[in-house]
Symmetry: none
Subunit: 146 residues, 4 copies
């Protein structure tokens, strides 16, 4: 099953980047509410949401964060890496029908400690909705061999 | 609909705390994979997972993070607050059947800027699985009245 | 529990037909992506899909194929039959809001080997979206009695 | 959004292969029943299933087929390819807890018509549960440029 592997640390370079995009549907918000238990009326109650600054239901900020996690876990560095930390700054709301593009870009590689930092950003069009930094631990070919 | 409201900033005090607990099921992991798109085999492939350091499928780290978001959005400070930022440090894996208790505790209140910081931690028994800090913007009764 | 049974081979005749129809919603596509892991942006990313030949998000072809499987497994021949093979030719896209009508028609019966072949087609209005052939193994009353 | 692209026909070679694995849970079967409508008691009714040759509930054959579709749509050839046809031969049942590994291998490339054929197989351990052939239409770099 070696095809399931992501990148080894030797294969990563600063500047490498990957994206994952998804249009946020009403279904996604309902499903995220179910799996998380976050029933905040801003997400699920259209009448309440109409009275807020956003005027309508918005997606859970952690749903966009989950797309970042998808990138880290499936693409860059991908399967086999260990997720150490993530910072998240929620900058703007995501509305039903918005297409969120999450992008992770390698910013720092420490080959000795096998730590890889990535800048992570979610955008809707040109608007940054979430930004932050991920830190991961990535396996080494050498360690595998040794 | 005033029952849907969370705390106003005047009602919050440093040290106030709230918790949300949930037993992580195989279903939760399947559903989180669906809503996020994170099909990393560590979460979904028992044979692959058996070859990893964790020896079995583990939950997405962002699922525990989502429980923190649930606390912030539904309990403390609760509906009406704006989620500004969250830091997450993934300390230990969550396995199927583990009960995760997420706890948020108010650590700092800035009444002028209406900012409230909370320490956030997820535990399985005595083991910290995720820790970090949340920052929120909370409405004021005064502003409402004014 | 005999009400759960489908047809015995003695009850089937060439030309017998059954249909199953369903309007494809955004929810169905999100849920199919979840259960399959198929996060191809043609299905989930409206902005990407707008740049493709189809101009919008389309349903997974295997979702229409699943409707054929539903017919085979629940109606004709129905519960008790064994699904041997299915060929699928994806002819045209299915868009959100399209109503897919899957139809299976018995084309060949081999009473000795208890094999039943069915032509299977999915249409949206007059447009064929998927076509193919199913082969099944169907129980015999005689065998049941013997 | 060019990062969302799969392979161009110029980048494919006979023998290239990709796999996707997933442990089939009770949840997956329930979710597949919901999205397809296939409520055959073999999949959903444990008492009925105990009376069948399989002695227990089995997964929908089309669920394994969906994993093949996931491979085609997200990995090999991946986003941008058009799924033309798929043949499926259901060889053995998949039970709850089985880990299905779907593998697609390029077997034939027609650069003029841009057609790519792949052998597709799903296995549980060493047992083939589904096998068949996929045909896809893959974009060309030349066509993009021209």
């Amino acid at each position: 099953m070696q095809l399931l592997r992501g990148y080894y640390i030797e294969d990563l370079k600063v500047g490498m980047s990957s994206s994952y995009g998804r249009t946020v549907t009403e279904t996604d918000i309902a499903n995220f509410a179910g799996v998380s238990g976050d029933t905040n009326p801003m997400h699920l109650n259209a009448e309440f949401a109409a009275t807020t600054r956003f005027k309508q239901r918005i997606a859970h900020g952690m749903l966009s964060a989950a797309y970042i996690s998808t990138l880290i876990g499936t693409r860059l560095p991908g399967p086999g890496c260990l997720y150490i930390s993530q910072s998240l700054r929620f900058m703007a709301p995501v509305r039903i029908g918005d297409t969120v593009i999450a992008t992770a870009t390698v910013t720092h590689i420490d080959p000795v400690r096998r730590r890889v930092k990535l800048s992570t950003v979610c955008k809707v069009g040109d608007t940054v909705v979430v930004e932050g930094e991920a830190e991961t631990l990535v396996e080494s070919r050498a360690k595998q061999a040794g």
